[in-house]
Structures are given as C-alpha cells and as structure tokens.
Symmetry: D2
Subunit: 311 residues, 4 copies
C-alpha cells in the first residue's frame, strides 16, 4: 500500500493541480478530504503521510484556517511549498451562451478574483451563489442547479462542461501558495534557496515589543518574507505572529536568530525549513556581510582562541 497524501478536495481543484507538480506524487496515493483541518488531522492521526493545503494567496492573503491549524494543536512541519498561478475559466453546459447566464457559482475565495470581470462581462442582475469548492460548483452546473461556474479550466472535462471564457483573473499575478505538511522530522538539507517558517508569541505588550523580536532577525541579516498576525484565542488583541524568513535552520544566521527568539519569547513554534518556490538558487542574494556561515565559523574560532588566550 503506497503512502498517502491527503489534500483539500474535491478532485479537480487548484489544490490537486498544485499537488501534482510534486514529482513524488507519482508514487503516492492522493486522497481528497473535505477541509484543511481534516487534511491535517489525517496526518496527526497517522492516516496520511502528509497533507497538502493552501496557505496564502495573493488576493486574500494568508489562509487563516491553515495558519490556525499549524499554530495550534499537535506540532506539524512544512516540507515543501508550491506556487500556482490562478486563473479561472467560466464553465457552462455545452450550448450555453454568455447572455443565458442568470446564476453563477464558485468557492467564496474565487469571488474577489472574478468580481470585476463579472461586473464588466455578465448581466448586472446575475446571481452569485457560493459552492463548497470550485469543483463542486462545476458539479452543480452539470446538474443544472446553476448556469455557470468559475473554476480551473482543467475541471471542465470531468464534469462534462465547456470553458466559455478562460484566463479570468481580476488581479495580475494572482497566485496561491500551497504547503506539504507532515509530522516533525529532520528538515531537508538546504538547497541554497530556502525558507524557514516559525510562529512566535510575544511576552508582554510594550512600546517596541514586536520590533525587538524582529531585531533578532535583522541584526543577523535574515530577511523576512512574510509576517502574519493570528489571534491566540485568549482575547481580542492577543496575537501571535507567523513568520517566513529567508534561509534554512542549518544556516548559522537563521539558527542564531531562532535561538534568540526562543530565549525572549514565551513560546516559539518551528514550522520547518524547506525549498523556496519560485526563487532560483542563483537569484538568492548573498548573505549580508558578516552573516555567512563562513563568517560565523571564523568568529566562533576567534572566540575560542580568545577564551584560550591564543591570539
């Protein structure tokens, strides 16, 4: 029995398309599940080797369900990320003309990405109804419940529909980022273009509190690529911060920054170091002067000599 990957289903969604870009999926059983929590629970419960879920999109921002699941509960780790360009097709039953469309459907997350297009191209009184997923919306069109669905073009065939319009996306560069999540284990070796994800809690609320935490990265030349606040659930205004930083926990500058945070934060949760999607190794900026592994090692050697009085 092959190991299985649970992913946010149903089949025929962007998530599945993104997942299939990972080479190892060829040898895994891919299991659609109904929700992000269900996917992660499958990992925690041992039914799945890993879960593949969306975590950020360029229009809506962080996918809070995924973030909140990673922030709380039994620890999980991110092993891979995938970036997928998101463009929608308007899927209809064969024979439907654009002027026939009175009702459309899709997952609510699709709405901000097609809202302007709808205003410009569909009748003003067209009715939008939410579907559980874009694929499910397509199914409902197939069943005749709605006239049209916004979904990935790849979903048309499965549901006997045709793409009336393609390449629909209100925002340029619309992308969704997905992560492959598993139980904690040794992170993959650095590739030279890596990211490290971590969640930090602040000890107390005082002027400059968050700034001091960010300083742990800044002073060591570690660039942040994402900072998202998430409520801790203990009351309004109590937030933790999910941070994505450039570099790998095996990089000395990243390791020292993480240890610095561990010392000053009441809690730090390491979410993994993994290859950064969409960034080639040759495009990675060299570390700032004084923060390369070689410089860390040289400084460590120097310190040892000072401690021994040999200099």
């Amino acid at each position: 029995m092959p190991a299985s990957y649970a992913y946010l289903g149903p089949e025929g969604t962007f998530t599945e398309v993104a997942l299939r870009t990972l080479p190892e999926t060829a040898t895994r059983e891919l299991v659609p599940v109904v929700s992000v929590p269900a996917a992660l629970d499958a990992v925690r419960g041992g039914e799945a080797e890993a879960a593949f879920v969306p975590i950020e999109n360029s229009v809506e921002g962080g996918i809070t369900t995924t973030l909140d699941e990673l922030v709380a509960g039994e620890p999980l780790m991110i092993y891979r990320e995938v970036l997928l360009d998101i463009t929608f097709a308007l899927l209809v039953r064969p024979g439907t003309a654009i002027s026939d469309i009175k009702t459309v459907t899709a997952h609510p997350a699709a709405q901000p990405q097609v809202r302007n297009w709808m205003k410009d191209n569909l009748a003003e009184d067209v009715i939008w109804e939410s579907a559980a997923s874009n694929a499910d919306g397509a199914r409902l069109v197939q069943e005749g419940r709605y006239d049209a669905a916004f979904a990935g073009e790849f979903a048309a065939e499965k549901y006997g529909l045709v793409p009336l319009v393609t390449e629909i996306h209100d925002a340029e560069n619309a992308q969704t980022r997905f992560v492959l999540v598993g139980k904690p284990a040794r992170p993959a070796a650095p590739t030279g273009a890596d990211k490290t994800s971590v969640v930090i809690w602040q000890r107390e609320d005082h002027p400059g509190g968050l700034m001091e935490l960010l300083q742990e990265f800044a002073i060591r030349g570690v660039n942040l690529v994402l900072l998202q606040s998430r409520p801790t659930g203990t009351g309004i205004g109590d937030y933790c911060f999910a941070i994505d930083a450039e570099g790998h926990i095996a990089d000395r500058r990243v390791a020292e920054a993480l240890m610095g945070l561990k010392r000053v934060c009441p809690e730090v949760r390491f979410l993994g170091s993994y290859p950064r999607a969409g960034v080639a190794v040759e495009d990675v900026r060299p570390p700032r002067s004084g923060t390369s592994d070689g410089e860390f090692v040289a400084a460590s050697d120097w310190l040892a000599r000072c401690q021994d009085g040999r200099f």
Copy 2:
C-alpha cells in the same frame, strides 16, 4: 430626514446590537445592508453618513473584507469602535428538543466559536450548513429549512424561535470589534484613551525593513496594539501593514511617528484617531519618559533657543 448609518445586516445580528450601544444611534436611521463593501460604498456614495462593520474578532482575527475595503479605494476614516462579547444561543422552533436536531446553520464565522460545543453536545452526524448571516440562519429555521441556528439570543423573538441553550462560546473572552466609518473629516478630540489606525506600505524588501518602520513608533514610545499584514494584490508576498497604535494623532509622539513613516514609506494611509473601546482613561499607561506632549513642547522650545543662540 435623519442622517443614516448603514450597517452589516440583516437586523438581529451582533452588528446591530453593537451599533445600538452608540448613543447617537437614537437619532439616526439605521439601515441594514447586505455586505461590508455595500456598507462602505453607501458612505462613499453619500447615501449614508457612516457605516458600522466588524473589523476584528478574537477567534478569527482581522475581518479581511473590512480591512481590504479600508486599505483600498476612496479614503475613509474610523470614528468610533465598539467591543462586543460574543456568545451564541442555539435557537430552535418551540417544541424542538436537542435530540431532534439533525441540521444546524449559522454564518461561517460562527463555526469556530461553536465547533467544540457541537462536538460535545450534538449528535455526531448533525449537518452544518452555512447561512448568509446568523440572523438569516434564524429565519431559515423559522421557515423549517434547518432544525436549529446559532445566533445571538436577542434574535429569537424576531423569528419566533426559542433559545434552547445560551452562553455558547468555545473560547473564553470571545469578542468582536466593530468600527464606525465615515468620510475623512477632522478626528474627534483626544479623550486620553485613544487609538490611531494607519496602513503602511514598505519601500523595499531588505533585512530589517519592517523593523525599521516599527522603530518609528518604538523610538517615540508609541505602543502598537495590532499589526496585520494584507496583500497589496500585486503578487504573492507583497503586503501592506494595517497598524493600530495607542494614542491620538494630536499626541506629539504619535504625530512625529506618523510623519516618520510618511517620509520612509512609499504610501501611508491614515485611518483615524478615535476613543479606544474597553480601556478607561485611568487605565492608560502614562507615556514613557521623554514622550509626553509637555516634553515635546519643552524640547521644541529648547531647540528654538539653540537656533537663536539664547541659552
């Protein structure tokens, strides 16, 4: 014709309850609208004097629709905020017993706040269906579409339902924060317990970039109460930051921090200074030494004397 306030409807939601805590609503026409964008558009279009919408809740975090509407489009300003404790009642048609419940409904935002309660108190196979609002869920129960609705207890009477269980809330201290938003005008005078909201964009991505922006607050002793990143829509990883800081734009330390941000950020959007809900003036920490208005004025006088050579 009285001035009107548009609010996220329908009637009978937590939003309406929160809105009615504002004394001036006695002399305003309160108009429920279907969505946050509709409420803000009513203000922008001049049909409403102000809009009242949720902006943050202690379980889900920032209400992204509201944030994104404030971040983009024609500028608006926040004039008031209201904090409301959120607890749900399970509303049913008279005569329904808890064991009769096969289907429940509510707005999706309610789900994380009642999920654990459901697990512990309802049958495992009970079906959850999302409603457009909690009040709408109650209406659907009245119509017989579902067996029970999670909603504010106050909604029962309007829909001929009875509260089978009350005080349901998975998280302690569950609260939602609402804001009253209008067209830009002179902010209300400081009360001594104020907040200032601002959105900042970062010029470039380098180690310490965000830290440098937060430094503008920290060096002047201005405490941050909320920092949320929101995608700019220009591509994955491009974020602006919505910040709530303690103090009023009329406070010299806040004013200087805002000017500092204005100089180093490509864009800063001022969202208003307004009384801070839930914090009494006597509970506000005095400003850090060197950051009171008196000290700013004294330093300014001293500088003038230096520039004149009189010292």
Copy 3:
C-alpha cells in the same frame, strides 16, 4: 579698538598658523594666551570676542582640556573649525649638526608624532624634556638650554634658528583640528557642508542605553563623525558624550534628532552648527531617502491634512 581673538599661544605655534587661515583675522587683534582655559575665560569674561583653540588631533585624539572646558561652565558655542596638517621641523641654532644633539624639547603633544623619527635618526641616549609649547621650546633652544626643538618650520625665523630637518611626522595625514569659540549666538546659516556639535548626558545605565541615544541620530539618517566620552567628574565610570554630527541645526533631520535627545537625556548642551572643514559641499552625501528637508516639510503638510481630515 578692534575686536580681539584670544588663541592658545605663544606666537609661532601651529595654533597661530591655523588661526591666520581665517580671513576675518585680518581685522581682529590676535592675542596669545597661556592656556586653553585662559582663552575660553577671556571669551566668557568679555575680554575677547572669540577664542581659537585645538580640539582634536589625528594622533592624540580629542584635546581633553578643550572638551572639558566646553562641556562644563558657562555655555559657549563653536563657530568655525580649521584643519591643519601637522609636520615638524627640527630647529637648531645655526651650526648645530645632527650628531651634536644631546637634548631635544617640544610640547608633550609633539612627542607621539616624532617618537619613531627620533628613534631612527637621533642618538639613542638623547634626552627629551617637555616644553610649555613648541614655540617655547624653540625659545629655550635659542637661549641654549637645549640643543634642538621640534616645532613648526615657521617658528625658526622668529627665534633665530634653522630647520635642520623638515616634514617630520610619524603618522601619515597628521592633522590638528582647531575651533573658534564664542558666546552663544545665532549659528551661521547652513553652507551645505556643516557639522553640529552637542554634548549629551545619559539618564541611567542599562543595556542599550547609549545605543538608544545614538538611535535618535540613526533613525533620522544623521551620520556621526565623532563621539568622545568625557568623565562628568562625579565618579569613575560616569561619562558624558561629546558628539559631532553631519548637518546643521537648521536641517530638519538634525533638529528633530536634537529634540529627541533633549527629551530623553537629563542634559543636552548644544555646542553649535558650523561649516565643516575639509569637506566641499559637492562631496557631501545627499541625505538618506526620507530625511531631506523637503521630505520633512511634505510629511508635515500631510500630517496637517490628516489632522484636518482633508485627504
């Protein structure tokens, strides 16, 4: 009676040479006095319009007597600075050969600048005796007390001596910096290449205390060119800091930094803004993005619009 400038005498020292590079000395009476305190007291007492004294040299560092006099007592201000290349000549009575020299003299400050030269060029057993000034050393050679004096070549004629060797200077780029000091008055207008001098006292001793003070400059893009600690006289380890920063008190970034210091330091003493010697206007780096006067004014305008609700 022309206004007079007191300078550290006697005549024939480097100080006089440096002073005479100031054009206005043509119309002033130049009065040599015996010490830096005497020169500054002449200003404080009203006997001299200004005093001209050394404040820093590239070999010995800050001239502590001058710094301490400016730090304490009745306030004074720096109006001009002069940089002078320092090279020594070995002055002897006519007829003296280098092998005849058994004793040499000069002001103690000269010693570190000629020490290596002496080791290489004079007999090992030559005796050094300190003189009250380099010019006084020359006088003592004239009188026959010593065989040779290190002094400026310009001093030879006055004392009937001849320069046996010239261009003596152990360190390359040996320079001394002099300042023209007067009673407080309005600083001269900015030239575009200016410096501002200030003395700051620290409120308390905690990790990062000095760093926080320097941050007042750094966050506003003001570069420091000199930082010297001087004892406050209240006990070992109690220091104040004499700071030279790039820019003029009329520059908004400098003014705001000074006010910031004034607010957080128990005491700040402004020592003046004046043209920077040795730096041409065209070689001055433009202010860091966000710190020019124009950007300060624009931010101030923006703030006023925010405060008025006009944006």
Copy 4:
C-alpha cells in the same frame, strides 16, 4: 628569581599603592619603570610577567597612553583591575608654612584635581611647574627646587617631607583605575562580577554605523560600562572604540556579542575578562530575561531538537 611586575614608577606614587593591594605582589618583584610604554614593553619583551598601569581616572577620563598602547602593537590582556581613591597631600620640607609657598609641583594629571583648592588656599601668584611624576615632584621639593609638591600622603616619609594639608581633591569620588596587563593567556574563571574589555574598529562610516555595533551588545542584554574613542592614527576622524562591558567572555551572552562584533567589524581586539573592581557579586544585576547562560543552553537544545525534528 621571583617573577616581576613592572609598574609606572617611581616608587611612592599612587600606582605603587594600588599595586600593593593585590595579594600576589607579596611574592613578586615590583619594578618601577619610567613610563607606561616602558612597562608594557617589559611585558612584551619578556622581562616582566605583568605590568601595572593607570587606565582611567574619574577627573581626566581614559589614560590615553595606556589605551593607545593596548590598542596597537603586540596583543596584551588585562587580568585584574584596581580602583584607588585619590586624594592629595601638600608636601613640604619641615618648617615650611603655607604662606612661604611660592612654587608648587606635581605630575600634570594632578593639576585638574587640585586646581580649585590652589585657587582658594594658595597665593594667587604661586607658580606651578610640572614634574615627571608626583613622587618625582616630592624629590624635587626635598632637593629644594620647589617649595611644595602635591602627592600621596604616603610619599612624605620617603622624601623627608611633611604633609602640610591632606585630603585635597577638587572632585568628590576622585578615583583612578589601574590594570594589571600580561601576555595573552586563558582568562581567569568568572567570579560573577566581571568585566570584558574589547577594542572595535568600524567598517564604514554611515548613519547608524556605531549604533549597529552597540546593538550587538544591547540585543543580548550586555551593559556597557565604558566606551572610549581613540584615533586609529590614519587620519583625523578615524577612530576605534575601546569598550568595557559587564560580564565575562565565558558568559554566553558576552561570547555571542563578541562573535557578532567579530563578524561585522574589520578588526576586533579582545583585551580580557577579569574581576570588576568595586562591585560585589551580590550587587550585580541578574542578566535580563532571556540572556542567562541557562536560557542560552535551553535555546541551543531546542534548536538541536528542531534540526532533528524531535519536538
């Protein structure tokens, strides 16, 4: 032959008194030498095991000769420091009355500490002549060259003089700090009240440059007790910084700060970790939260678990 300690002589100076407070001097030969450079050269050349020299006094600040000798040349290390209260006696030949005094002498460093006393207690026309040391001044009085000498009371007997006035000191709390310097070797073990001395050079001159270096200490909770700038000798305005920090190189927070400096500075010179004079272990503040050795070790363990995926 016992190991010898060279000290700034001659006998009978404050330096000798301070040196004799060290218990180990009972078993060492104490050798007075004519200058600080001579004392340090004796160590570098192997003729002395250690040198004992003044490094700071509360009136004059850093003893620049000592600092400059430690900053340049073959590396040396500080092993001990001694704080000595400095009060002067006015020494005269037996029979001299205060009204007989026409000339006084002492080392130039004594002058700022007795200047006010002289003004109040001696005739206005009394003549001050500098001596090579305070002890040498006493000798010159013995020889009849001058009428009185300012020196330590302990010097009277040796030169057949009597203390006419004692406890002379213009400033309260006048102290001089001395250091025992030797060739580099393993620093003594931490006592709990230690200091670490280091010299740092700055890579480039930009706004915030020095602040960034001080940040290496601040972010790790290491308090600075002294910062002195010394010219590098390469031109006016080029300075290095001699820094005394609280703590021992064996403290993890100090070690990490030193490594941080080593990475970002073109040069760092470690001058030793040694017991702090005048501070009892029980008066040392506990390290700031997050900076104790225990917290460093715990963070290091946590990092290792993250790197192994065991958490």
